[in-house]
Amino acid sequence: MRTAIWRHFDFWLLGAVAVLITFGIAMIRSTIAGNAELIELDILGRQITYSLAGFVVILIAASVDYRLWISVSRILYVVIALLLLVIILFGGTEAFGAQRWLNIGLVIIQPSELAKITMIIILADYFARNRERVKDLAFIGRSIALTMGLVVLILLQPNLSTSIVLMTVWFALLWASGLELKHLAFFALAILLVVAIGFPFLEDYQQQRVINFIFPDPEARFGSNYNVTQALISIGSGGWLGQGYGQSSQVQLRFLKVRHNDFIFSAISAEFGLIGALAVLGLLFFVIWRCVRAAQLSQDAFGALVAYGVAVIIALHTIVNVGMNIQLLPVTGLPLPFISAGGSSLLTFMFGIGLVESVVARHRALNFS
């Protein structure tokens, strides 16, 4: 069994992730150069530490049978729900106006990040066990209730972007499990309705972001539009090959904001140009494809849905983040997977990769039993 695991271990996937993370660390180093505040927080050192920890997480997750997570998923669900409640009721560490962080001694964890993987496992289990009932609306309704349990708590933080991620995971898994096309149309309508009704209930800054995206104020010299404009300038100034590592005036002179995190894709585009940006997009697409490949190879539906779920969150984060950078989507706080600075999300994605490795390592291509 042990040798069998490593025979099917996807080293291409691990390699691509390693390249992305390494490149991300290099970019973070470039983006925080000369910024005393960020250097003081040791963003770079923390990212390196987290990534090293992340590889350990991948190896552990890969070596553990992914099916074992089913037994702990319900406990995780309850624990995360409780943690989220604690944050909402007693207040966590506030960052950028939202209480998302829980300071547990030395480590600051973000329960909403853990919620993403937990949601994948819970829903994958739920759908895998009930494949034949996927055409039943009541069954679908229960899956919504399961999802909303965490989504509501996260919305209350408030954290709109993670809520959207969880809803997307639910929808994507439902789709892969065999959602009927007529139901798809129904849900599309329902989502439009929810957006229309829900918009007034969003926090002011969330509404403002959406409004700014749809009706940008061309005169704005600072604020959210300023950030987006600076991102476009950074990307556009890159050209074919970019201005060179550590050479972009937009990045190095700090005209580009949140450049180590939300807008790191702009920094990459500025310093490495179209070629560099496409290389990063290509690698991310490769990672997503390897995850989907794992789903196809999986010996059971649960494993397939888990691997597919991980592909979904990586794809969603990439699309939302890059879409925001190139001003095709409104500003949200979703990081670029493996590259943006931030320990919690990095660990989340790497744990996800570990799960995918676990699935692909245990597939039986020639299973005659």
């Binding site: 089913i70 600072f222 556009g236 100034s237 005209f255 196809q296 794809a315």
Partner: protein
């Protein structure tokens, strides 16, 4: 595998559903690629230009404004450093709590209240109507990237301690502002002027030269305005790379240093200026005290070297404190000055148009002698009044009109010296308009105008001051156009004694006497002695400039109808003034000091002086409003012009007192004291020169 329904779990996912997912992702990535290609390749130049604009900034470097010195090297206008504490809202920290901390600490350090007034109140630069918090709030909504002045003119120590902390306080800074300082203040304000912000009308022009509105200032009055182009210098520039905080990192191009403005040395002797100012002011105040009312409200005095045109003192009182305009022009003070009926902002010595009165008799005297209207020895009867026929047309029957002398008793028989020395009105009426058989043909208005112009009236003299007045010596054409009425014979009589429509500035009156004192040579009056650079090199030295010599240059026009009252018709011929005429008028002015109108005032003066007084009746808006314009008893201004020494004049003065009533008693002492002050200063300088 607890909890898993094995059969269900074994149903594989539909492969097409996974492909569809990959397909959607791929489609989005293709869209992204297209968008990136569009931004990075097709629009590359545009974005790159914006990136360059972001990081490059052109900074204008202000030049040092030129210093103004008096003739002895005393500083009359200079630049002083002043420190202002500023906050640039855009560079403050993002966190409201951090901003609050900065606000509280900054308020404690500068002494400005944390919160005061409301954000609806106007933000006055350096004003104290708002607290730190309100000022930042207003600036944030108005112009977040421009610094707002929190506290102005702080001590150097405070400025340094704020500058030290500005590292921890992003957005807080210290601005060093050059402040124009005038050590002699209101004593020289009417000549020197003041600075003000670049007005909107000149913004484009001055921006093109590198000047920055709201930072750089330009001359608003006096020499600061007249010589602005010389004084202001040339701004330098730097093209620098800045980070997002506006911090300058390095020069992208070689910086161009600013070129300091040139320094100006004036002909003014501050000692005489000071003496003249206090003499004029004290004389006026003591008369006001004597009358126990504010009767005389303003005055002017000028002292000049008639040989060179160098103006040694030029006083216009009351003046204003130009140091109060150093930082900005306070509205309440400016309004107070502009609404003041005495016009403190106007340099009355060159900018006022006043009835000249008897000092204008010098023109009539020169003209009448030169034209042979009278001979110097011809005796003319000067009763207290004469009656002549006033006609508006040649050949009209006319009506009788009385012309009275200021001396109601009359002077009896006077020759030319007696007429000028005693300033007999009747004598000059007869010279100007003619009188029966005694003076068969008077000088006439046309010739009066040409002699007045030769002596310096009716045109600006080119003094280095803005808003120099032209004055007025009327002729029949002027009257038809402006009054809609024919010139009358009576007008000629009135004009002959400098009354009626005749208007002149104190400088014009001075120049008429200076021309006579200098034997007919009129020098251009000037305040500019030298232009020097920062190292003291003389860029432009003083060269006396002769306007004309009335005994050499043919300036006097001949007329077909010399004594008529119709429009003046020139024959085209020109002539000069005979030197003996000038000499005789000089004797008349000497006579005024020896036995005439100035005799009592100059009784104890040891230096031989010559002069002429004037008591000019007026009826302006102020007098009219006070009901003083009673026919035959108008209020009058006091004039005196004098020069000394008689044999070789080196100083000529004019003194004018608004509503001074009588020339000899009010303006006379002022003139005498300024002459005495001049010779005292000269003696001090001579002694100092000997001692060396």
């Amino acid at each position: 595998m607890s909890g898993i329904t094995q059969t269900s779990n074994k149903i594989p996912l539909d492969a097409w559903r996974l492909f569809a997912f990959i397909g959607v992702i791929a489609a989005v990535f293709v869209l992204f690629t297209a968008r990136l290609f569009y931004l990075q390749i097709l629009e590359h130049d545009n974005w790159l230009r914006q990136a360059e604009e972001n990081r490059t900034e052109e900074i204008s470097l202000p030049p040092q404004r030129g210093v103004i010195y008096d003739r002895n090297g005393m500083i009359l206008a200079r630049n002083e450093a002043s420190y202002n504490v500023t906050v640039t809202p855009a560079f403050l920290p993002d966190d409201a709590a951090e901003i609050e901390e900065i606000v509280v600490q900054l308020a404690a350090l500068t002494g400005t209240p944390v919160t005061l007034g409301s954000i609806d109140e106007p933000l006055i630069p350096c004003g104290d109507n708002l607290g730190v918090r309100e000022m930042i709030a207003i600036q944030t909504s108005f112009s977040p990237f421009s610094p707002v002045l929190i506290e102005c003119n702080v001590p150097r120590e405070l400025a340094l301690s704020v500058a030290e902390r500005s590292v921890d306080w992003p957005g807080v800074g210290v601005q060093v502002e050059p402040i124009r300082e005038y050590p002699t203040g209101d004593m020289t304000a009417s000549i020197i002027g003041y600075l003000g912000p670049i007005p909107a009308a000149q913004e484009v022009e001055l921006r093109a030269l590198g000047f920055v509105p709201n930072r750089d200032k330009i001359g608003y009055g006096g020499l600061e305005l007249y010589f602005d182009e010389i004084l202001r210098g040339t701004p330098g520039s730097r093209v620098v790379e800045t980070d997002v905080g506006g911090q300058v990192l390095r020069d992208i191009e070689a910086p161009v240093d600013p070129i300091a403005g040139q320094n100006i040395v004036l002909t003014i002797d501050t000692r005489l200026q000071e003496a003249a100012t206090s003499i004029l002011k004290n004389e006026i105040l003591s008369w006001n005290q004597y009358f126990n009312e504010i009767r005389m409200t303003s005055g002017a005095a000028i002292a000049m070297d008639p040989r060179t045109g160098e103006i040694l003192a030029m006083v216009s009182w009351p003046s204003y404190e130009n140091n109060r305009f150093a930082r900005f022009i306070p509205a309440y003070y400016y309004d107070q000055l502009t609404q003041d009926a005495t016009h403190p902002l106007v340099n009355n010595a060159v900018g006022a148009e006043l009835p000249a009165g008897s000092v204008f008799k010098l023109v009539t005297a020169v003209g009448a002698l030169n034209e042979g209207v009278v001979s110097p020895d011809q005796v003319i009867q000067t009763p207290g009044k004469i009656t002549v026929t006033e006609r508006f047309f040649e050949g009209e029957t006319g009506r009788d009109r009385e012309f009275v002398d200021w001396n109601e008793a009359g002077f009896g028989s006077l020759n030319f010296l007696g007429g000028l020395a005693n300033s007999s009105n009747v004598y000059f009426y007869k010279l100007g308009g003619g009188y029966q058989d005694e003076v068969p043909e008077g000088l006439g208005v046309c010739r009066l105008v040409t002699y007045a112009e030769a002596l310096g009236y009716n045109a600006p003299l080119g003094i280095e001051q803005p808003y120099e007045t032209i004055g007025l010596v009327p002729d029949p054409t002027w009257k038809r156009i402006n009054q809609g009425e024919n010139w009358s014979t009576g007008d000629t009589y009135i004009a002959s004694v400098g009354q009626g429509f005749v208007l002149a500035s104190p400088l014009q009156v001075l120049m008429s006497a200076a021309t006579i004192a200098n034997d007919g040579v009129q020098m251009r009056p000037t305040l500019l002695y030298q232009i020097v650079d920062g190292e003291g090199n003389i860029l432009q030295d003083f060269v006396p400039e002769e306007r004309w010599d009335i005994t050499q240059d043919p300036l006097i026009k001949e007329y077909e109808n010399p004594s008529g009252i119709g429009a003046c018709r020139e024959t085209g011929e020109l002539k000069t003034v005979e030197p003996w005429v000038i000499e005789t008028v000089q004797q008349g002015m000497r006579g005024a000091v020896q036995f005439g109108t100035l005799a009592r005032e100059f009784a104890n003066v040891t230096i031989a002086a010559a002069g002429k007084t004037g008591t000019a009746e007026y009826c302006d808006e102020t007098a009219f409003a006070l009901g003083k314009c009673v026919y035959g008893n108008w209020p009058s201004h006091a004039w005196t012009v004098a020069y000394a020494p008689y044999d070789d004049p080196e100083i000529v003065i004019v003194a004018f007192v608004y509503n001074g009533n009588e020339g000899a008693t009010v303006a006379g002492p002022i003139g005498r004291k300024i002459l005495e002050a001049y010779f005292e200063i000269k003696a001090v300088d001579a002694a100092a020169a000997e001692g060396q």
